[in-house]
Symmetry: C2
Subunit: 348 residues, 2 copies
């Protein structure tokens, strides 16, 4: 009794037999058309089409060592911020003849490393989005296989990241222009490189402009985290709040609303990412926008190039794309409120 496996529908051998040529000729006619006589080639191609032949990816991978599959690993698939990245990556993967597999690390470095190791044998390379891994671990993976970082930069590793320096400067200048003198930065996970860049950029720009900024956190980079963070921000009493990302900003917004605090009357809020919803929350969110779909496409292109280079044992200098960011000013930021009369010290 034959084993109950699903046989690969129609194989190259079927095509070869039907076309009256050797399998090697079929292989060539289909993958290296120029290495085959025109009439042979067309004949083979027709037969293949007629029979509905589809090459077995497994067999091809076994022979070539390449799977035509790319992996995209993210800390939180449900964060709308990543939707654009996923779509961009998926489209470009398809355009370059690749399949995209997806992995969620749940904001967890260990899970991310496990995911990479689990996926590694079956893919040609990795797109690591907002990786929570250490630089050392990333370098280690990068040494073993093609890796492109998105939203992260590590020396000597190919990457695509949004310009945080310019972005944070825009934010700070916007707030200063509105008369704010004290701001709070609600920090996300310490593992977030983008978060660290944001804090660094804000601190530096703030110093330059005489804005006092205090960092609170870390908080989980979600609406729930923003709820907590918003509470803490309220207690501090700054007139401007810069959240690690829009999810947190929206959470903070919710909390302000619940507490009867007017945004932007009493406090202004700024986020990062310009995610779905940032334009229709109440008030709409002022936020730093970047083109995630484009980043996804670029990242795939870079990764595909890396895979090819590896196959040829060549090595270009790693590319480092820094994509522009743009502050989208909406209703959540406004002029700083007039400072309250200072309470006499000791009168409490």
């Amino acid at each position: 009794m034959p084993s109950a496996r699903r046989p690969h529908a129609v194989t190259i051998t079927d095509v070869a037999r039907e076309a009256g040529v050797a399998v090697s000729t079929v292989s060539r006619a289909l993958t290296n058309p120029d290495r085959v006589n025109v009439v042979t080639r067309e004949h083979v191609q027709q037969v293949a089409a007629r029979l509905g032949y589809r090459a077995s990816p497994a067999a091809r991978a076994l022979g070539t060592g390449r799977t035509a599959t790319l992996a995209l690993v993210l800390p939180d698939i449900t964060n709308p911020y990543f939707a654009g990245l996923i779509r961009g990556a998926e489209r470009q993967a398809e355009a370059t003849g690749h399949i995209l597999v997806i992995g969620d690390s749940e904001e967890n470095a260990r899970a991310e490393a496990r995911m990479v190791e689990r996926l590694a044998p079956g893919v040609d390379g990795f797109l690591l989005g907002s990786s929570r891994l250490t630089d050392a671990r990333i370098l280690q993976f990068d040494a073993a296989m093609p890796v492109v970082l998105v939203n992260r930069r590590v020396p000597a590793v190919t990457s695509v990241s949004p310009d945080q320096q310019g972005g944070t400067r825009q934010i700070v200048e916007h707030l200063v222009a509105l008369g704010h003198r004290r701001a709070i930065f609600l920090a996300g996970p310490p593992e977030s490189w983008l978060g660290r860049q944001r804090w660094a950029g804000i601190s530096s720009a703030a110093k330059k402009h005489g804005l006092k900024v205090k960092r609170l956190g870390p908080y989980h980079p979600s609406v729930e985290g923003g709820l907590l963070a918003g509470e803490a921000a309220l207690a501090d009493g700054a007139t401007a709040v810069i959240a690690h990302n829009d999810l947190m900003a929206i959470g903070a917004l919710k909390r302000m609303k619940a507490r009867g605090v007017s945004v932007p009357g009493d406090v202004s809020i700024v986020g990062f990412d310009d995610i779905f919803g940032a334009d229709f929350c109440d008030p709409p969110l002022t936020t730093l926008s970047d083109r995630t779909e484009q980043a996804g496409r670029s990242a795939v292109d870079l990764l595909v190039a890396l895979v090819r280079e590896q196959a040829r044992l060549e090595h270009d200098a790693p590319a480092d794309i820094v994509a522009p960011t743009q502050l989208v000013v909406r209703g959540s930021t406004g002029p700083a409120p007039a400072p309250p009369l200072p309470t006499t010290p000791g009168s409490s």
Copy 2:
């Protein structure tokens, strides 16, 4: 000069040599542990671990005909509604030892079919989410490989779908209780089974409750589509609007706001899906909620079972999970406004 392929790091042969046993024994020790003597097994496993052995998915797939890979195809990866489905599917895929590949059909039946055909040779089965294909095409795919439908039912095909009949009843009763007498349904794509169910359920419940409902559309199931749809709804003058999904509802909401129409003062709006953002738009959206992450998990479980059945040539009756839905009442629905004094006919 050796070809520049990436060799599969450490193979079963390496392990066999190092452990002093045959490759077949290694294979068994690792995949059918009970078919091997305890001490041999443990020895082999240790050696494999020490060498960092990872089976080649390609080689395994070639031999067994199974890839341990599942595909999830969706009409729009960026619709937040699908985020939960993606996450649920991804988690359960991981839990069952599978890899999840993702495909976006861009609301296009032809693209969806192409995607399925493109992915088919490399996966064990398909999760078709909100498929835009015809029943006939789905049956055709289902005959050729394991398929689980999500958000769609087709006779004899395994599926997981939210209870639209109960859901639409809840919506209609809610509106009727608020005193609405005329409503508009803003339709999505005709290819959407869920959309057709929604219209059917609403019509039927409306008739029962004496609510007049008119259908407008079809519109693209996006915020942009909702903008257009909202305009049309305004022109019609009904007091309640039921949108194909939350994306459209939010678009309609935006348009109302822009037109100075009060929601829910002048018109109430109801959506479907309870997506991210439905709770913080202005006003928050009354919408029919379903558990997408759970649906994703269930769908993967069903698909894995199908794959196993196929391998054993067994065939259970196809499962049809209908998951409960729940109306989440928020600020976008309220009492119907008092009817305006009827204008005298002919006085225009």
